[in-house]
């Protein structure tokens, strides 16, 4: 008998091996999303990363939630609420008949327990509860929050996973506690990473770090059942790899595409490219302290810098869909003004006049610090080079100093950077977040912009933070943005677009900046 050629045999074996992969049956209805996640834990009281909510929102209910975009605040597991006349007491009535995935009924006691645990554990998101003086559960269907001061953003804050309603009985059985000694006594974090105790449409079936999270349908869910039986969130860091997997049909959603990947797949049959407004902004910090900023600290120089920048060019670098907000208040937030016309925002002639007025017609040299970070697919050092070229037009010579973000954060926090390029993602989807940029507030102080330097603006910020009347609040925010557009230690450069793609037969794969995708609403 003729012996088979070993090379032929090996080739056949290899082909069989390669082709044979992927033949096992998948679950009946499974949604597969590829993303580059940053989540470290699924303990709702501790999770704070941008993608954690993508997993936690379909698993845990909150009193308030977003149905679609972040400008549509709706009730979650609460069905109604009232606010006292002094704006300090919020009373919520819970929906009746809501059960956790365990079958335990969801009561006000669980809400109280969950909030107290979040406060006592002191995770990164605990600051959202700073203004809560007490939380009470006078009856199983009523929760009462008493605030220490008025907070116009309180209802929005309640959408965060910090306020996720946890099944206290199941959690306690797994060594969770809401007591004051929670930082040392609570041992449930690892349990939460691979399990869940929520009332949402899904439960966490398994979590393999850096590999995948699998969500499975919650049979006790009180609301409309989701279309998919399971959702697999696959960790695929490289956008090129995500794109290939989408093109091959191995995944349904590729969530982290850059502008270049989008171009490759635009118009291809069977794939829909989505462009949404991210809430991440990139901005220039200009130090107001002459000891640190030197000539950059001059207000006219700062105005000149804002007028010298080529916003159209920067938007091109950031990719299609990027806009330039009026001030560091993202388009899409309550009260945000429309974005700038990028062409009209640049005025070199006026910029040069201002430099002359400031006494720097011949220009000056300064260091320009930037971290080697990529923001929504855009490389910050590349943007820095663009800015460097723009500033040359008004005779400002910048020496770009790049460093890893872990190194750059130190001088940034201490207000030691003359001119630097940074980015900001909101902690929660409310314009109160952005008040941090005002003089005397945390980000303002990183530019050494004190309240004393701009007292009117500082006072306006304090007023807006506690203004619960929507009309009055909108007016305050408008005034703040106009003031900052005229005079500010910051130049808001970009609000980024988020690019992702999905198989065209999917419905409901709309972007939401808090939840990224509302997984329970996606169907075919």
């Amino acid at each position: 008998m003729k012996k088979q050629n070993p090379l032929t045999a090996a080739t056949l074996a290899a082909a069989t091996l390669l082709a044979g992969g992927g033949l096992a049956a998948a679950p009946a209805r499974q949604l597969v999303v590829a993303l580059d996640p940053d989540y470290q834990t699924f303990d709702p009281a501790l999770a704070y990363e941008a993608y954690a909510m993508m997993v936690l929102h379909p698993v845990y209910d909150t009193l308030m939630q977003f149905e679609k975009g972040i400008d549509e605040l709706k009730y979650g597991v609460a069905e109604s609420s009232s606010i006292s006349s002094d704006g300090l007491v919020y009373t919520f009535k819970l929906r009746k008949g809501v059960q956790f995935a365990s079958g335990n009924p969801l009561t006000a006691a669980d809400v109280k327990w969950s909030v107290e645990r979040a406060i006592n554990l002191k995770g990164n998101g605990a600051f959202l509860a700073e203004g809560i003086a007490s939380v009470a559960a006078p009856d199983p269907g009523t929760v009462v929050f008493t605030l220490s001061g008025k907070d116009a953003s309180f209802l929005t804050k309640l959408t965060a996973n910090t306020f996720a309603v946890i099944d206290s009985r199941t959690a306690t059985a797994n060594h969770a506690t809401s007591a004051a000694d929670a930082p040392t006594a609570d041992k449930a974090k690892l349990w939460f990473d691979g399990h869940s105790a929520g009332s949402g449409p899904y439960v966490i079936e398994s979590y393999t770090p850096q590999v995948e999270v699998i969500l499975a349908r919650n049979p006790h869910y009180w609301g409309k059942a989701p279309y998919y039986d399971t959702v697999a969130l696959k960790s695929v860091k490289d956008p090129g790899a995500q794109l290939m997997m989408l093109q091959k049909g191995d995944i349904d959603v590729a969530f982290n595409l850059g502008a270049e990947q989008v171009k490759q797949v635009q118009g291809k049959p069977g794939i829909t490219v989505a462009k949404a407004q991210s809430m991440t902004i990139t901005f220039l910090l200009m130090n107001r302290d002459p000891q640190v900023g030197g000539p950059v600290a001059n207000r006219d120089v700062q105005k000149a810098i804002r007028l010298a920048l080529d916003y159209t060019g920067m938007q091109t670098i950031a990719g299609e869909g990027a806009v330039t907000p009026m001030a560091p208040f993202q388009v899409g937030f309550f009260g945000a003004l429309p974005p700038k016309d990028p062409k009209a925002a640049q005025n070199l002639a006026k910029a040069k006049e201002l430099m002359k007025k400031a006494g720097f017609e011949k220009g000056f040299k300064t260091t320009f610090e930037v971290s080697t970070q990529t923001v929504e697919g855009m490389d910050l050092p590349t943007l820095a080079q663009k800015i460097q070229n723009d500033l040359k037009q008004i005779n400002i010579e910048t020496e770009i100093k790049t460093s890893d973000i872990m190194v750059a954060l130190n001088p940034y926090r201490k207000g030691k950077q003359a001119l630097s390029l940074w980015y900001w993602g909101p902690d929660y989807p409310d314009p109160n977040n952005q008040l941090a940029f005002l003089p005397g507030n945390s980000v303002g102080l990183r530019a050494n912009w004190t309240a004393a330097m701009s007292p009117k603006l500082a006072d306006l910020g304090k007023k807006a933070a506690v203004e619960v009347n929507p009309k009055a609040r909108a007016a305050d925010l408008k005034a703040i943005q106009e003031a900052m557009d005229a005079d500010s230690a910051f130049a808001t450069l970009l609000q980024h677009a988020r690019h992702y793609a999905y198989r065209s037969e999917l419905k409901g794969a709309d972007y939401n900046d808090s939840y990224k995708l509302i997984l329970s609403k996606i169907s075919k």
Binding site: A14, A15, L17, L18, A19, G20, G21, G22, L23, A24, A26, P27, Q30, V32, A34, Q40, T41, L46, Y48, K122, N124, F127, P183, K189, L190, D193, S206, T208, P209, Q210, V211, E212, I214, A232, K234, S235, V236, K237, D238, G240, A241, M244, M245, Q247, K248, D250, I251, D404, M406, V407, L409, N410, R413, W424, D427, A436, S442
Partner: protein, 339 residues
């Protein structure tokens, strides 16, 4: 007896090595101009003095460096690698999770590298100065010099996207759930569970990243095998074997190859040790959750326990592999004595 003492000495040396590695890595990671608090707290919480103080107290970062190291060493002596600041899980748990992924890929890659590297090296030596030899030498240089991340993208584009004959990134197909077994080696765990489709899928997913990672070592093995074999083939005892009328195949396999293997085994050992340290770029492109990515993220976040834990693991790998290689020398060359 000599071999046993040799092994015991190496094991003892391992203890000192671990202390040395932990000290060096500890000092280096604490001298970078950054602050682990900034690396792990949110920007908002960085401004909160109480939060920063609580965080430092929790992780012992408020203590002097020598005290921090002493605490770490005390725990290490009990086998405790500490808690990762980033993942907040025991470092040992993290390593137990990510290292098997790297082991599985490294073993596959080294098998490919050894089988093909030696085969090509032998062929190249036999066909010295022919077109075959030149082709193999050119390919081995290419394999050793082409950037691995580029090669990874190219093989994915060619075999996965264009030809559709290989699976995509990841340890398993996107619609396969990960097997939860004892070893963390997906192929082994799936086989032990009797889940043959998953085992086959996991094995298929090893091919492309294994080829990419093995390319560099394959190139080295090819060239080392060739040069070592050529040197042996020029020796008198080979001429004697041929003069006795032995077939060339037997001359090579029975007389030449064994003697040519010692430098090759050294290269294999070093290559395997390198692979076990993880390759962050290839792991990123192939979405492979290995030790390379874990180490990279630990470094980015100044996660001291994780950084030291990974360093110790890699050091242990190298020592054990070198020990194995040294023992293999004795097998290959009976003249070697362990003293």
């Amino acid at each position: 007896m000599g071999l046993v003492k040799f092994i015991l000495r190496r094991v003892l040396f391992l203890g000192f090595l671990i202390i040395g590695v932990s000290l060096i890595v500890f000092v280096i990671s604490h001298t970078v101009p950054s602050d682990p608090v900034l690396a792990n707290l949110s920007q908002r919480n960085m401004d909160n003095v109480e939060m920063v103080a609580a965080y430092k107290a929790k992780w012992g970062l408020d203590k002097p460096l020598y005290a921090q190291y002493a605490i770490y060493l005390g725990a290490l002596a009990k086998g405790d690698l500490g808690i990762s600041i980033r993942t907040q899980r025991p470092v040992a748990t993290d390593l137990a999770q990510y290292f098997p992924a790297t082991v599985e890929l490294a073993v596959f890659a080294i098998i490919l590298a050894v089988v093909f590297g030696m085969a090509f090296g032998i062929l190249s030596a036999i066909k010295r100065n022919t077109a075959t030899d030149r082709l193999i030498r050119g390919a081995s240089v290419l394999g050793a010099s082409v950037p691995s991340f580029w090669l990874a993208l190219m093989v994915l584009l060619l075999f996965y996207v264009m030809l559709g004959i290989a699976p995509g990134p990841g340890r398993l197909g996107a619609r396969f759930p990960a097997p939860h077994g004892a070893t963390g080696l997906f192929v082994v765990d799936a086989l032990l569970a009797g889940d043959f489709p998953t085992a086959r899928d996991a094995l298929a997913h090893l091919v492309l990243p294994g080829l990419v990672l093995g390319a560099f070592t394959m190139g080295l093995i090819t060239r080392t095998t060739r040069s070592s074999l050529l040197e042996i083939l020029s020796m008198d005892f080979i001429r004697t074997a041929r003069a006795k009328g032995l077939a060339e195949a037997k001359v090579i396999t029975r007389h030449a190859l064994g003697n040519a293997l010692i430098p090759v085994v050294t290269v294999i050992g070093l290559g395997f040790g390198n692979l076990l340290g993880g390759m962050v770029l290839v792991e990123t492109i192939f979405a492979w959750p290995g030790i390379g990515r874990y180490a990279y993220q630990a470094a980015r976040n100044l996660d001291f326990p994780a950084i030291i834990g990974v360093s110790i693991l890699i050091a242990i790998n190298y020592v054990l592999i070198n020990l194995f290689v040294d023992i293999l020398y004795g097998v290959l060359d009976p003249r070697v004595r362990y003293e």
